[in-house]
């Protein structure tokens, strides 16, 4: 109870120990809010009582103790502040609304960013968990082959546990609908790396890690409840997945999640052995995690890993590229790496919104301080010191911000729920996000700091009243110039900040538009896609799998409205890929690992036509390219340019995979498609006829071109496939437009948040301009009246007010423009196709700012025009 120790200082010293003791006894560690409230009330009452008691004894007015005076003044000021706020409901409402928005937005973003980026991962000793892998080109940790992993596991000493995982999508069969699960096959140390044990049942044993004995499974808590009703007797029972019986041996505790594969709900042993063809060193498809031993620094583990890998490389020179190495990174960094820049930018942006809100309230308070000049002067005349008046004003502003913060927390609570519900699924650790004590403490601190920040300018300005002129009737003209200048300065700052946010939103919007305008390399309109997985004992051999996809294609083609359809092993932008090393005939590489890699698509006839991927040269895959015919491939233009610059690749032959695979002749060149993302580089791509591949891909994605709205045909296409085999899971049915939109969710989310912030900033800044001008017109009513009486034209008056407003806007624009140029580089990683200093964006947002500034001037300007000289002067 640290806050209590601090608050205890407020109690009179003589009673402090006893009162704190009573409070501890009453509340224990429990209700902190009641504790604090009781303490504050007791402190105030006891100080007053002590003073009265002393007075009674000495018959002299006893002075307050220092602390007593503090408490008593605070209470008086608070009471007075409440009354002042209640007397000016429209002012209070405006100021509070501004603060609720500013503090609410900041609290919401803070409560998203901090848990995601900084809270330790939810595992014991989480800081010792690392991700390791062979170094990718960009320095991140890539996959490892099984033998590499085994050598590392056996020879390193820095780790308590090392594990390798491979992704696994088993189809769970049983009484109800077949369901495709996301899971992982893992080696023995997997759960030890995370330091979490199954809540029910047991972990995998060493024996179960051995091939042949690995048909056991551990369920996630969620899967256990969903499919097995949370029944503990499921332990030891068999479940059927992909037609194979697994014995359930354990259930993980509620809330356990492998953050590197958050969707995983089921785990089974990897069960590899060195002799398997897919366990080779170059078969890099395993991801590796490890737990460093207690007391071993990361740098030491990194050092050892590098030495061990150097040895492995020296012993197996043909399996590793010359520049290869190992990387080791803390899991926390790994999990948040993708979103860190975006979240930090959002945190910065919301800071701007808060600053604008503070500047706005500061301006409002300044405006009101002008109206209250008489009050301050009277207080000064009665002997109130400057500090006393300033303190009263600071109390008022902190009270405002504390009430604003209470409202802000409510806003944040809603906003956080919205973010969790609609946020991009790629945002890690969504479940760690929420309003908690840490967030509330942050908001409370924010409220006090903000209250002092926006109260300081008015308080200092009010502390120096000119008593003489302020009390003279009709003479509230002096001493206000500095205040008006301060207010104008605040508005300029607001405009500048708003422009910077607008520039950010503008850049993100242009990026999003440019991204979605990127040609994916195929025609996404009128395309329906869905994945079908063949599973179960019927599909144990290749022939029935091939027959199924063949028949299913015929059935889909028979659906009215479908004009073309085909299968592919990988769908562009579908979130997966399948890379192969390519050997080119006649170009012998000393190390096959240095061969170029290409994406493989095993496709059925009709796929390229259905997708609208254009044929550039040669011919397309035809029915004649049967299993027994000479093997053929199509390559994309990027591959042709990369490997056959200035040559005709048609007729050349390549091998895909190892040296014992067949040579395949290139018969055609097709257009490039964007595979991993619209913003990604185009990779070399190879299309092979599915029937000519050594094995049948068990899971294929359908691409069906339709005449009308593809969504309308979804049910009938699905029905056609079910008509061939109703037991197979159909996954991710969607139109291609939806698939593309899905790839841009994170950008879209960042843009939406930025747009919202910019809009709020613009509104607040406009309100600031309006406030300054309205105040100025009201003050100058008499002057304007005299001017019109002396013959000033209406347009002259209009020009006078508008030019004042535009001067503020222009100053804000210049300042904000400079700021935007300086700060936009932080957005760089989130931009696509536009520079950080994109002139179109900057000019556009400047125009928006000017229009907004003009609109804000309009009402005060019209009021000034309508000032009748008669009425203005009659007021005297």
């Amino acid at each position: 109870m640290n806050a209590a120790r601090w608050l205890g200082w407020l109690l009179p010293r003589a009673e402090r120990e006893f009162v704190l003791g009573d409070l501890d006894e009453l509340y224990g560690g429990g209700n902190r809010l009641r504790y604090a409230l009781d303490l504050l009330r007791s402190a105030a009452i006891l100080h007053a009582a002590q003073r009265r008691a002393a007075h009674r004894v000495s018959m002299q007015p006893a002075p307050f103790s220092k602390r007593g005076r503090f408490m008593s003044t605070l209470l008086t000021d608070l009471r007075y502040a409440f009354r002042t706020l209640a007397r000016n409901p429209s002012f209070s409402f405006l100021a509070l609304l501004t603060l609720v928005i500013g503090i609410g937005a900041t609290t919401a973003i803070y409560s998203v960013v901090v848990p995601v980026l900084f809270q330790p991962l939810p595992y014991p000793g989480a800081e010792r968990i690392v991700a390791i892998g062979e170094r990718n080109d960009d320095g991140s940790e890539g996959n490892v082959g099984y033998l590499t992993f085994r050598d590392i596991e056996q020879t390193t000493t820095s780790f308590e546990a090392v594990a390798a995982t491979s992704s696994w999508q088993p189809t769970l069969q049983g009484q109800s609908e077949p369901e495709r699960l996301t899971g992982q096959r893992v080696t023995r140390g997997f759960f030890s790396v995370f330091g979490v044990r199954p809540a029910v049942g047991r972990d995998f044993t060493a024996e179960e890690n051995v091939r042949g004995q690995h048909r056991v499974a551990i369920l996630s808590h969620g899967l256990w409840v969903r499919r097995f009703g949370g029944d503990p007797s499921v332990i030891g029972k068999p479940v059927s997945m992909d037609g194979i019986q697994y014995i359930v041996v354990g259930v993980m505790p509620h809330g356990f999640q492998n953050l590197m594969s958050p969707q995983s709900e089921i785990w089974a042993p990897l069960g590899y052995e060195a002799s398997l063809s897919w366990a080779c060193r170059t078969c890099r498809h395993l991801r590796s995690v490890a737990r460093i031993k207690e007391g071993t620094p990361l740098s030491q583990a990194r050092q050892e890993l590098s030495v061990v890998f150097g040895r492995i490389k020296a012993e197996n020179t043909n399996d590793y590229a010359a520049g290869s190495g190992m990387v080791i990174n803390p899991m926390q960094k790994r999990v948040t790496a993708a979103v860190r820049p975006a979240l930090l930018v959002l945190l910065g942006a919301v800071g701007f919104v808060l600053l604008i809100a503070c500047a706005n309230v500061s301006g409002l308070l300044l405006g009101r301080a002008m109206q209250r000049e008489g009050e301050f002067a009277i207080r000064g005349a009665l002997g109130a010191g400057r500090w006393r008046v300033a303190r009263q004003l600071l109390t008022e502003s902190v009270l405002l911000s504390v009430i604003g913060a209470a409202g802000g927390v409510l806003v944040a609570w809603w906003a956080v729920r919205a973010i969790v519900a609609y946020g991009p699924p790629s945002l890690p650790r969504l479940q760690a996000i929420g309003i908690n004590w840490g967030v509330l403490a942050f908001t409370a601190g924010l409220a006090v700091v903000a209250g002092i920040a926006f109260g300081l300018v008015p308080a200092v300005a009010a502390a120096r009243p000119d008593l003489f002129s302020a009390l003279r009737p009709g003479g509230r003209l002096t001493g206000q110039r500095s205040r008006r200048a301060a207010r104008a300065g605040l508005v300029v700052i607001e405009m500048a900040l708003a422009l910077m946010l607008l520039a950010g939103a503008g850049l993100l919007m242009r990026s999003l538009h440019k991204l979605l305008a990127v040609d994916p390399g195929f025609d996404a309109n009128h395309l329906l896609t869905m994945e079908v997985q063949t599973t179960g004992s019927r599909y144990g051999e290749d022939a029935p799998v091939r027959a199924f996809f063949d028949q299913a294609r015929e059935a889909v083609l028979a659906v009215p409205g479908v004009v073309q359809a085909g299968w592919t092993s990988q769908l562009p932008l579908g979130g997966n890929f399948d890379g192969y090393g390519i050997q080119i005939e006649g170009r012998v590489l000393a190390n096959p690992e240095d061969a170029p890699g290409a994406d493989r698509y095993a496709v059925s006839p009709g796929y390229l036509e259905a997708m609208g991927i254009p044929l550039k040269r040669g011919r397309i895959i035809a029915r004649e390219d049967a299993t027994s015919a000479p093997p053929v491939v199509l390559i994309n233009e990027a591959f042709a340019k990369l490997s056959w610059p200035g040559e005709d690749p048609i007729g050349k032959r390549i091998q895909m995979g190892g040296p014992d695979t067949p040579w395949r002749a290139i018969v055609g060149i097709v257009g490039d498609v964007r595979h991993t993302g619209l913003d990604a580089e185009i990779s070399p791509q190879v299309y092979v006829p599915a029937v000519q591949w050594p094995w049948a891909d068990g899971s294929m994605v359908l691409a069906a071109r339709t005449t009308g709205n593809p969504e309308a045909l979804l049910a009938s296409v699905r029905g056609a496939i079910r008509g061939i085999d109703r037991d197979l899971p159909i996954i991710g049915a969607a139109t291609m437009d939806e698939v593309i939109a899905q790839t841009a969710t994170q950008r879209r989310f960042a843009f939406l948040v930025f747009q919202l912030f910019a809009l709020v900033a613009l509104l607040l800044a406009a309100a600031g301009v309006y406030g300054v001008l309205a105040g100025s017109v009201a003050e100058r009513t008499r002057e304007i009246g005299i001017r019109s009486a002396l013959g000033a034209s209406r347009s002259g008056v209009l020009r006078m007010v508008l030019s004042q407003g535009l001067r503020l806007t222009a100053a804000g624009m210049v300042l904000g423009g400079i700021g935007a140029l300086l700060l936009s580089r932080f957005l760089e990683g989130m931009l696509f196709g536009v520079g950080t200093r994109d002139p179109v964006t900057l000019i556009g947002v400047a125009a928006v700012l000017v229009v907004t500034g003009l609109l804000a001037c309009l009402a005060p300007a019209l009021r000034a025009v309508r000032v009748s000289p008669l009425e203005a002067l009659r007021g005297e």
Partner: protein
């Protein structure tokens, strides 16, 4: 200095008498709530105890620290002899004033 007791002061002193050697902030508040149905803040109790102490009607000693108080000591209050006399005077005055009224208002 003729000192009369306010109604709440009377209640607090009666609570102390009931509590014997265990009268401090929390127990006094509890007695007030249980016997008189009065629910008041701790601060109000402290204020009254301090005022009665200043008048000389209650005295205080310091008790032993206990773990549930975070190792802090209690300030134990007791009714002094002048306090007992003043309370008796107050109650007698109440009794005298209520005598002869309708039974619901009469103090036995």
């Amino acid at each position: 200095m003729p000192n009369y007791l306010g109604e709440f002061e009377q209640l607090v002193m009666l609570a102390l008498l009931h509590l014997g050697r265990d009268g401090y902030g929390i127990t006094v508040r509890r007695e007030l709530e249980e016997r008189a149905g009065r629910s008041v803040s701790l601060g109000t109790v402290y204020k009254t105890l301090l005022r009665l102490e200043a008048k000389g009607y209650v005295g205080s000693t310091v008790g032993d620290p206990t773990p549930e108080r975070g190792g802090r000591r209690k300030k134990l209050y007791f009714v002094t002899v002048p306090g007992r006399q003043a309370l008796a005077r107050s109650l007698a005055a109440l009794k005298g004033m209520s005598r002869g009224l309708d039974p619901a208002l009469t103090i036995q």
